[in-house]
């Protein structure tokens, strides 16, 4: 019998294979390893049957709290969104799940074609000419975009807006520390990038500026003014874009972006505690040979049919080694597939509807909150995520506790990133927050306000 899960060999099989090889025992297979090293032992537990594993994993799952039991306004780079049923059923097909990278195009046309379709959709959502096959996530995509801009411009400084997701800023800093590229933070003013600071910080060393639209605080940046300043200086304009917002707001290519990246999490990836998601990355055609990552192109086969293959591979590590544009040698293919199925199911009208629902409900909620004595909404120029400032006299901790008691996750605390905004909560509204959820949330905020006997303080 075979004693272990997933290992087909019986004792007989093992003996017969050994015999054919001309060895006596399993140990002989490792004869080239120094004897001294072969005394090692693993300390992990003994094997379990599938039944036991199921039980153990269920026990662990129970230690998590299920989001479905709460009304959640958590956002900040990951959003609880509606995912059409098509997505899960397509991505769980083994034909997609257990295939490897499509290096052999004749038996990988399924993967190659959906990547081509994915690239086409990303080009439309970003307003760019060329998309790669996807990156690990938005933060690493933004970092790669910054490095790419340095290669294109042969300059060595990156300006990154303070209004960019703080984690993305950290990742850009980590990536640029390798080749010793300088990064500087563009200050903010009233929740968006400060144009005067940008003017004073731009010079001939600056390879690119990186902004996020809508930004981390949910606000809309003055992209046209920024674009003009950046291009006058000969730098590249890198935009981190929210693909859902494109249902209402022009794709970044239409306001002059050179490289566009963004998180694909909203496009059918679910939450799964932060990953796997994917980052998309697209650029103008003239920069495509500096782009990192896989790219799929259309071509023909020897029967004269249209077909797909990985292409422009002379940019990549397996050909160019240390001269490659990046060390990346994969993408987040299955997540890109999820987004391709998502966007196909939702369609252009659905994406507009989604953007509209989020925008309208978020503004309605913000307006309601701004009328509750003590609570403030400091910025109004947002898309679907906004900053809410708590009344004086209640700490963030107490507020969060009170909310959890009422089964509400009101948003995320941002004061650890923005000292100038103490007691500020970032509230995110998606299509999953119904009008009833909004009503319940404002009702609970009103109770708090009443208990604290607060007066309306205006903006």
């Amino acid at each position: 019998m075979n004693k272990f899960n997933y290992l087909p060999h019986t004792t007989n099989d093992r003996n017969s294979l050994l015999k054919e090889i001309g060895l006596n025992k399993e140990d002989d297979l490792f004869q080239n390893i120094p004897e001294k090293l072969r005394q090692t032992r693993l300390g992990i537990p003994d094997p379990l049957t599938e039944l036991e594993v199921q039980k153990r994993i269920l026990e662990l799952a129970k230690k998590n709290v299920w989001l479905g039991d709460y009304i959640s306004f958590l956002g900040g780079g990951s959003y609880d969104r509606y995912i059409p049923s098509t997505v899960e059923h397509v991505v769980s097909r083994p034909e997609f799940l257990t295939a490897y990278t499509p290096y052999q195009p004749e038996i990988s046309q399924g993967t190659l074609q959906f990547i081509y379709e994915y690239q086409s959709m990303i080009c439309s959502l970003t307003g760019m000419d060329v998309s790669n096959a996807s990156m690990y996530d938005v933060a690493s995509a933004a970092a790669e975009a910054a490095l790419m801009a340095c290669r294109v411009t042969r300059r060595e400084k990156v300006l990154i807006a303070k209004t960019v997701d703080p984690e993305t800023q950290q990742v850009v800093n980590t990536y640029t520390s390798g080749p010793n590229i300088k990064t500087e933070v563009l200050p903010m003013d009233e929740g968006i990038t400060c144009l005067d600071s940008l003017k004073s910080m731009l010079n001939k060393d600056v390879a690119c500026i990186v902004i996020q639209m809508p930004n981390y605080l949910g606000n809309l940046e003055e992209v046209k003014k920024i674009e003009k300043l950046v291009h006058e200086n000969g730098a590249l304009f890198v935009v981190i874009s929210d693909p859902i917002s494109v249902g209402i707001i022009k794709p970044p290519g239409k306001y002059g972006a050179d490289i566009v990246v963004g998180s694909g999490q909203s496009l059918g990836c679910g939450l799964t505690y932060g990953g796997p998601y994917f980052g998309f990355m697209a650029c103008k055609e003239k920069y495509m040979r500096q782009m990192p990552g896989r790219i799929v192109g259309a071509t023909v086969d020897n029967r004269g049919n249209k077909a797909f293959t990985l292409t422009l591979q002379t940019r990549e590590q397996h050909i160019r080694r240390e001269k490659a544009t990046s060390n990346i040698c994969s993408n987040h293919s299955l997540n890109a597939l999820a987004s391709c199925v998502y966007l196909s199911t939702v369609g252009p009208t659905g994406l507009k509807d989604l953007a509209n629902i989020c925008f309208q409900r978020a503004h309605y909620l913000a307006q309601k909150i701004s009328k509750i004595p003590g609570f403030k909404i400091p910025f109004n120029n947002f898309f679907s995520e906004f900053v809410m400032v708590l009344p004086d006299g209640i700490s963030e901790e107490t507020f969060m506790e009170k909310m959890l008691e009422r089964k509400i996750l009101p948003g995320i605390s941002i004061s650890k990133y923005y000292e100038e905004m103490p007691n500020a909560i970032l509230v995110s509204v998606t299509e999953k927050n119904s009008e009833v959820d909004l009503y319940f949330f404002t009702t609970v905020l009103e109770e708090i306000s009443k208990k604290m006997k607060l007066q309306v303080t205006g903006k």
Binding site: Y100, E117, E167, L271, Y273, I328
Partner: protein
């Protein structure tokens, strides 16, 4: 080919409907600069739900995948991916966990990550682990940035990284991304790192060596203890590329060989699915002297609760958003629970057993440049067949007509016409014998009628692809009718 999904689009058709806003609506231009409003139609397909399902199911039929047939891709460890790994990921309490939830909501997921950190430390023989990196190459980047930060803190300006000529392309590419110059050392007649050449290359400018062990020829670097002594005496570090870890679980540990930093490809060694190119995960383990340099956060346990530990004083920062590809890590964790210590060890033994069996069966017919007991994979040369009129690419395409995915071809670069074969432990003797039969049949066909072989593939959804045209005239996106 299958029509593009865009070509199936009909104006006004919808795949799903969405609810009304349910609230009083405001005009967009009361908030948004009207010149920024998107008034053009996005180029997305307008199709029904059935159209979507038919389209993607049809595409799926054009892929090779593990459940369809043998996938002996060298260096990629295409082992079977157990179904339970997929089932556990659909549990709502894992799937619906927001990364910005209070840590009291995440204790189950954090416990899994904490235990996985410990298991990986055990398997690698090192002390501390980050689960953040999203892929093997991402793990390499993390590890080599740690090398850089370590020497910066020590005040040593080390600018070079040594990479053997048999290394994966990611190794030199990663070293370069981290601002190092790459020094290549050659292999000796046994296919192992040339120790004399290594000694000449090592000096105070060298920060690290990046090694795979077993190496890409599938051979164990038997001088590893001497290599680690040479490097450490020169004050340099050893980086272990974990691509071939499937050969040694429970047999030897990289930390005990002298490696200081290791990345693990969960999608190879720990059976998480490759997903057509990702997502995987590339956790990194380090010796305790390097633990303070790990990216933040790692997962800690204070005796009562699990928590995200941001307290690494020398941290290189973050290498990605949030904490890691949790969905992938959960699969790896589940696999380790299933296999346990004895199962993981047996998996490595069987992987090595299967590779040696295939090597012995094929070596008379195909050239075997480095003839030795191999580990989990071996590299043949198609030189003899090339002389007879069919090169390695031709052999690869012929294999497809027998329902077998070709081995990795033309890598490592130090073997002419390389065919790198890695059967993995999950293949039965019957499947291995089928592969041998097909390989022998192809060799015979090449001797007798090479022109016939060159017509392959004949049974695949498309014929041989014109890759030159794809690069010359890039067509990278559908741009409308």
């Amino acid at each position: 080919m299958t029509q593009l999904i865009f070509e199936k689009s009909q104006k006004g058709r919808r795949g799903c409907l969405l609810p009304e806003t349910g609230v009083p609506e405001i005009d967009f231009d009361s908030i948004i600069d009207s010149s920024l409003l998107n008034e053009e139609d996005l180029l997305l397909p307008e199709v029904s739900e059935l159209d979507v399902m038919r389209h993607f199911v049809e595409l799926s039929h054009k892929n090779h995948f593990i459940e369809k047939g043998l996938y002996p891709l060298g260096s990629c460890t295409m082992k079977y991916n157990p179904q339970i790994n997929e089932s556990v990921c659909t549990l709502p309490r894992f799937k619906d966990l927001h990364p910005n939830s209070p840590t009291s909501f995440c204790q189950g997921s954090l416990e899994i990550m904490y235990e996985l950190q410990n298991y990986l430390a055990d398997i690698t023989g090192l002390d501390s682990v980050t689960l953040q990196p999203a892929a093997g190459a991402h793990g390499e980047l993390t590890g080599m940035l740690i090398v850089k930060a370590y020497f910066k803190k020590k005040g040593e300006n080390r600018t070079k990284v040594i990479v053997p000529d048999s290394a994966h392309g990611t190794n030199p590419a990663t070293a370069k991304m981290c601002g190092f110059d790459v020094v290549q050392v050659g292999s000796n007649e046994k296919g192992l790192v040339d120790i004399e050449e290594l000694k000449k290359a090592v000096n105070n400018d060298v920060a690290a060596i990046m090694l795979t062990n077993p190496n890409t020829l599938g051979l164990f670097e038997e001088n590893i203890l001497e290599i680690s002594k040479i490097m450490h005496e020169a004050g340099a570090l050893l980086y272990y590329d974990g691509a071939n870890l499937n050969a040694i679980m429970g047999i030897v540990k990289p930390g005990e060989m002298g490696f200081d930093i290791v990345h693990i490809n969960t999608h190879k060694t720990l059976s998480t699915p490759h997903g057509g190119g990702g997502p995987g995960a590339g956790p990194v383990a380090v010796r305790k002297e390097l633990a303070s340099f790990l990216p933040v956060p790692t997962v800690g346990f204070n005796g009562e609760n699990f928590y995200l530990n941001y307290n690494h004083e020398d941290s290189i920062g973050k290498v990605r958003s949030f904490y890691g590809n949790f969905g992938v890590l959960l699969r790896a964790y589940t696999y380790i629970l299933s296999m346990g210590k004895t199962g993981l060890k047996q998996a490595s033994i069987d992987a090595v057993l299967n590779a040696n069996y295939l090597k012995e069966k094929l070596k008379g017919i195909y050239m075997l440049p480095y003839d030795s007991v191999c580990m989990h994979e071996f590299v043949l040369s198609g030189d003899k067949q090339k002389e007879q009129g069919v090169n390695t690419l031709g052999i690869a395409k012929r294999l497809m007509d027998s329902g077998i995915h070709p081995p990795t071809v033309y890598f490592p670069l130090i073997v002419h016409e390389a065919l790198m074969v890695e059967p993995t432990e999950t293949e039965s003797k019957e499947t291995l014998d089928y592969f041998v039969d097909v390989m022998l049949k192809i060799a015979k066909e090449i001797e007798e009628n090479p022109e016939a072989v060159l017509k392959s593939p004949l049974t695949t959804p498309v014929g041989k692809i014109d890759e030159v045209q794809a690069a010359k005239k890039p067509d990278l996106a559908y741009k409308g009718k």
